[in-house]
């Protein structure tokens, strides 16, 4: 486990240009965190001949919207935000690199136990965007389902999070 906890992170954020008014909740997450997450998602799940990329299925927007739900795991949200910040600090040159170099940076990051956890959670929520019902804002035009010949269940949800019709 990475030694950084929420308290040390808050102290760090106060002195860093990346983190102006960060509170570890989605409403106040700075754009830089989302920018990092978006770029790393594209490395984790890029477009291939058969599969859509994270961006194709609207993975960032899915995460921003759904992380504000009361059903979203707050520990996960904290990990996603803090992990992005740690990644930014350790690999500040990430954005200037080409795709191949970015892959190697993520590979290197995955050797760190804390960042490995962060990447693992990020893959998970990107897969939610890819294969969840489009009502949540991901899986654009059912691209994820179609790519793997998945037959969706019927009926599809008419509202999110099981709320009554």
């Amino acid at each position: 486990m990475h030694p950084m906890n929420r308290r040390t992170f808050m102290a760090l954020s106060a002195s860093s240009p990346f983190f102006l008014s960060i509170d570890a909740y989605a409403k106040d997450v700075p754009a830089s965190v989302w920018r990092t997450i978006e770029s790393v998602q594209e490395v984790l799940l890029p477009a291939t001949e058969q599969m859509p990329s994270a961006k194709n299925v609207n993975a960032l927007s899915f995460l921003i919207v759904n992380s504000t739900s009361s059903y979203f795991d707050q520990n996960d949200l904290e990990l996603l935000i803090e992990g992005a910040s740690v990644f930014n600090q350790k690999f500040s040159h990430f954005f200037q690199e080409n795709a191949e170099a970015q892959y190697r940076i993520v590979e290197l990051a995955s050797e760190d136990a804390y960042l490995e956890q962060w990447l693992s959670r990020l893959i998970y929520y990107t897969l939610e965007a890819m294969f969840g019902d489009p009502i949540y804002g991901g899986n654009t035009e059912e691209m994820g389902w179609k790519s793997v010949l998945h037959v969706n269940g019927d009926p599809r949800p008419k509202s999110t999070y099981g709320s009554k019709v």
């Binding site: 490395v43 993520v106 693992s120 037959v151 269940g153 009926p155």
Partner: protein
């Protein structure tokens, strides 16, 4: 108003009481912790049904304490720390909405395991105070009223039946069952055809199964699945005699220092205290929560908790022994269209070793891995423990989901009751309402794992003979949280047992407990059918003796 009957909970242990007593003209009220849903509210939404706490309380608000044996001592861990939820469905119909509906009866010898096999050191097995023959008419009633589909398999341990066949024909099956049956024949095993609590034909306002491919863990949108809500509570509501109070968390059953419960105290979602008065009370909140409520209902007259003069409330909890395994099938076994054909069932089991000469065995049910693409894709992100990503992960997801299908098996064997498997309450751990939560000590008997391993090996043999690839399994001493029973044993001795043979409290004459709490042993099957059948049996008894019961 004073109701004739107040039922706490609305799952499998509650539905038969609501159904029978409301039809008999009794004024019945159900206090349900969750909300009221109907078929039109349900959907096949993997995120809502399997990835969030939508139909169960949030663990940070309402949790359990799991007490496990670690490094030589019992350690308590709140479930919000390990994310191990023992809630199984807080909504009308309870967890029966989400069951897979593998319906197996117990067998005559399940009612007398102690007589059959003798004592096991470290186990607290007891014979039941009733026989299979007494329960059989109610298994049959469940088949008809809840709806069971299937076809009888003749084999060594087939239990006696009062009817020749199930009332509904078998559900449609995937062609893989031919491979399964062929493999079993080659091995001289019996390919047992698993009955399901899923309608294959319409029944009184309920539509048959439409093979949605999203069944286990999902509430049914057609009413085909025999949930307590669809099969029993909806018809009971039609009598006009049943009233449901939703979002009502019962926190105390109150006596007036007599042997009679006068009222149930419940909290609304906002935490406001309210009360319901009734002549008779039925507790069916699922085994863990039922014991918790009785223990939390202690008062001056009942300082150890209600119905607990024996000290046995919460004791002798049983879950299910066993575990899960799987094997892969791909385009070398079937063409892609056949392999990926969605919605069709497997409905096969192994039951040849339900009893052996030396020990009590169990059941292995086979089923396709659930459709859930998020879970399946996410399960592919590690190789030898190392995270994979990028094109490698995308290719693996594509290959796996388009060319492979996993046949799972689930092993069910008796969870030996023992002195280290019980529910208690501890004032140090309270939920957001300030109510002590259930502490669940989860000690397992070593025999459970031995039997589970034995059965898993039989399943592996079948998968190997079928030519499955990447066969794996895991047998665990940890309890499956959705298979709960025990805690309020029934029996013939008021000094040892909480309930009499009709599941009536020895201490409180107007209290019955009708979820799985009564079971001294669980059988080697999922409990739902037995809970339904027993609840019908108790309903029959109450209906015939209602006035006498109130005078006792």
């Amino acid at each position: 108003m004073t109701y004739d009957v107040c039922i706490v909970g609305s799952g499998a242990g509650a539905g038969p009481l609501a159904y029978e007593l409301s039809r008999a003209g009794k004024k019945v009220v159900i206090l349900e912790k969750g909300d009221i849903y109907s078929e039109k509210d349900f959907s096949k939404d993997e995120i809502a049904y399997t990835k969030r706490d939508v139909f169960t309380p949030k663990l940070k608000d309402e949790y359990h304490v799991i007490e496990s044996f670690e490094e030589g001592k019992w350690v308590k861990t709140p479930s919000y720390e390990n994310n191990w939820s023992f809630w199984n469905g807080s909504l009308l119909g309870g967890s029966s909405n989400f069951m897979s509906g593998f319906f197996h009866r117990l067998k005559p010898n399940d009612f007398k395991l102690k007589s059959l096999y003798g004592d096991y050191e470290g186990a607290t097995i007891e014979d039941w105070p009733i026989t299979y023959e007494e329960l059989e008419p109610f298994y049959e009633r469940t088949e008809r009223i809840v709806g069971v589909s299937g076809e009888i398999t003749e084999y060594a341990h087939q239990e006696p039946r009062s009817t020749a066949q199930y009332p509904y024909p078998p559900l449609a099956e995937h062609p893989i069952v031919e491979n399964f049956d062929t493999a079993c024949k080659a091995l001289h095993f019996t390919p047992f055809k698993t009955p399901r609590a899923i309608l294959s034909e319409p029944k009184e306002g309920r539509n048959p199964c439409y093979y949605s491919n999203y069944c286990g863990s999902y509430a049914c949108s057609s009413g085909a699945k025999g949930s307590s809500r669809a099969a029993l509570i909806q018809p009971a509501l039609a009598t006009g005699n049943l009233h449901i109070i939703a979002n009502a968390f019962v926190v105390k059953l109150e006596t007036d220092n007599t042997r009679t419960i006068k009222r149930a105290q419940y909290l609304t979602q906002e935490g406001t205290k309210k009360y319901v008065n009734a002549k008779l009370f039925i507790l069916a909140a699922q085994a863990v929560e039922s014991s918790r409520l009785l223990l939390n209902s202690k008062n001056k007259a009942f300082p150890k908790g209600l119905a607990n003069s024996s000290g046995a409330v919460g004791k002798n909890m049983v879950f299910s022994g066993g575990g899960i395994g799987s094997g892969e099938f791909d385009l070398s076994h079937f063409n892609q269209e056949t392999l990926l054909q969605a919605g069709l069932f497997v409905n096969r089991a192994l039951k040849d070793w339900y009893f052996t000469k030396e020990f009590k065995g169990g059941v292995v049910d086979f089923l396709f891995e659930h459709a859930n693409p998020i879970r399946r894709a996410n399960s592919l992100k590690r190789e030898d423990g190392t995270l994979i990503f990028g094109k490698k992960l995308q290719d693996k997801i594509f290959q796996t989901l388009t060319t492979k299908r996993v046949l799972n098996f689930e092993v069910f064997n008796d969870w030996m009751p023992n002195d280290n498997c019980f529910v208690s309450v501890d004032e140090a751990y309270k939920d957001k309402y300030g109510i002590p939560v259930a502490n669940i000590r989860i000690g397992a008997h070593p025999q459970d794992v031995i039997v589970g391993e034995f059965l898993a090996q039989k399943a592996v043999q079948v998968l190997e003979t079928m030519g499955a690839k990447n066969i794996t399994y895991a047998i665990s001493p940890l309890p499956p949280q959705n298979l709960q029973a025990g805690g309020c044993r029934f029996g013939n001795d008021p000094k040892k047992h909480v309930l009499n043979r009709y599941c009536q409290s020895y201490d409180i004459h107007n209290l019955f407990v009708t979820d799985g709490s009564f079971m001294p042993t669980g059988g080697s099957v999922p409990y739902t059918w037995t809970i339904y059948a027993n609840a019908f049996r108790v309903a029959d008894y109450i209906q015939k003796n209602f006035d006498t019961l109130l005078k006792t």
